[in-house]
Symmetry: C2
DNA sequence: CGATGACTTGACTGAGTTCAAAAGCTGTGG
DNA sequence: CCACAGCTTTTGAACTCAGTCAAGTCATCG
């Protein structure tokens, strides 16, 4: 047993994801985006990303216009003041889609994880911005080059189309969650979602119960903005889950899911059915 | 002044939309869907529907596989038990997209109006169903024929792609509304949305203030399911808006927006700023 | 007419918000 | 190393908006 406890702590370095989340969490001095050409063969998301669905010919065309970039947390990928149109495929890190309101209250309307596509073809401003929630590794494409490529390669367009349809389904499921669930159910749902995404949705539930720990990519405020709650409410729900041994929290947004089954049950509103 | 009052009534027949909503509201004995071939030139949505964006060649191909149908309120267009895959373009009426939950509480996650495209390419079950909220006139396409046509006609696929992106934006805006607004703001927002859609979003706000009346395509229960509220709450908000002279209600879901400016202000949460 | 279903109204309750204060974490500079 | 500032997060207590339960009204149709 390691030093994770209900009271504190953990060495995040040892979390099972094997991804440099420690790196992502610390507020590095925002360095300039590093742009390099990389080989897709080495890519962490080459099996699950949009590029995996393309013909080799299209994939080659894509790789010709791509730049691998590191993007610091907080940077805007699209939308907002500067409408520099770029498209990205997330290799590592999390992006939040935010509906910014002049009068303060922001609403996070979507999260994008590694292998997700980020961008809005065919429109410049939809009132949304995409912002790096953590430091990011992305494959970035200039807007014009990418849209041109979409025109000439129907398989690319169809791939993005399918992802858009999936995003739409996800948005509607999310909407249900916000509209109908209690605070506990919402928090549990988000934790299940994030835990699943950060594990690549690979682990079957039973097997991964033992040591599902990771660093939350979002602050309490951001979680609240996701769920349509106040940050105090989110904090209280975390405290409740912790008190019941369902989760444990560590330093610096470290979190361990101690009982995924129970957490998933709570996400569905069956807290009382548990032991 | 007609017989619309704060207490009651109106002749819905005379509403300014010029559409057969009276017909839609009465519960006709559900007749079998009438299937006919029609000429697109006569189509009420030929300027705004997806078909308007196609090359004449593609439009001709489309018109070859289309059937105009009347669909009674309550019928499911896709999803649910029978996954008969069809795609439709709404000519008249309103479709609701419902997230059905086994434990009762449904959530309406989207509304589709005349000229909107209804269907889910590339997937059979997404947990959603599309149901006619009113009687419907639609252009219906068999799933296989339509998807084949999409494969061979990129302009068709792109048109649907663009609509999907718009739907996604709309879904996310809606999400914001549900997550952050008060009951009054939600009800006002929905009324503004519906009023706009039923007028084809043509009238500029100021001009149409005088006589914006129409028949609500949704019951109180459905409105509540849209907004993440209970029907009692919706009813109370209607009562409040009526008491303040912002709207007037008529028989059989008839409604008149007496003060669109005030209604829009309330939708934004500025009720107190009004006179 | 009386039955059925949609809508309204009332009284009470409670989950989540709001306001306020304290505690924890992280980085800085002496 | 400690003290401090600027954060985020936690905790507490009072309040409020919308939910819940329960009648009651209205509309439509057989």
């Amino acid at each position: 047993m390691n030093d994770y406890s209900n009271k504190h702590l953990i060495s995040i370095n040892s979390h099972p994801l094997g991804r440099p989340y420690v790196d992502l969490i610390r507020n590095h001095p925002p360095r300039f985006a590093v742009s390099t050409r990389i080989k897709c063969v080495q890519c962490a998301v080459r099996r699950t990303g949009p590029c995996s669905a393309l013909t080799t010919e299209t994939a080659n065309e894509l790789s010709r216009i791509v730049h691998r970039r590191r993007i610091p947390a907080g940077q805007v990928l699209y939308g907002g003041a500067d409408h520099q149109k770029t498209f990205s495929i997330i290799v590592d890190g999390v992006v939040k889609l935010v509906n910014m309101q002049p009068d303060g209250g922001n609403q996070i309307v979507g999260l994008q994880f590694p292998s997700d596509f980020v961008g809005r073809p065919f429109a410049d401003d939809t009132g949304l911005i995409a912002e790096a929630a953590t430091n990011l590794d992305v494959c970035a494409f200039s807007g014009s080059a990418f849209e041109t490529l979409m025109q000439t390669h129907p398989d690319l367009e169809r791939t993005i189309f399918k992802r858009t349809l999936d995003d739409l389904d996800a948005a509607r499921r999310w909407m249900f969650m916000i509209a109908r669930k209690t605070a506990e159910e919402r928090v549990a749902s988000l934790l299940v979602l994030i835990a699943g995404k950060l594990n690549g949705d690979t682990a079957d539930d039973a097997a991964s119960v033992s040591d599902l720990e990771f660093a939350l990519p979002l602050s309490r405020t951001e979680i609240a903005e996701c769920l349509g709650l106040r940050l105090e409410t989110v904090s209280r729900q975390f405290a409740a889950l912790k008190a019941e041994g369902v989760i444990a929290t560590g330093r610096r947004r470290g979190i361990r899911v101690c009982d995924l089954t129970s957490l998933a049950a709570r996400a569905q509103g069956h807290a009382q059915l548990m032991a």
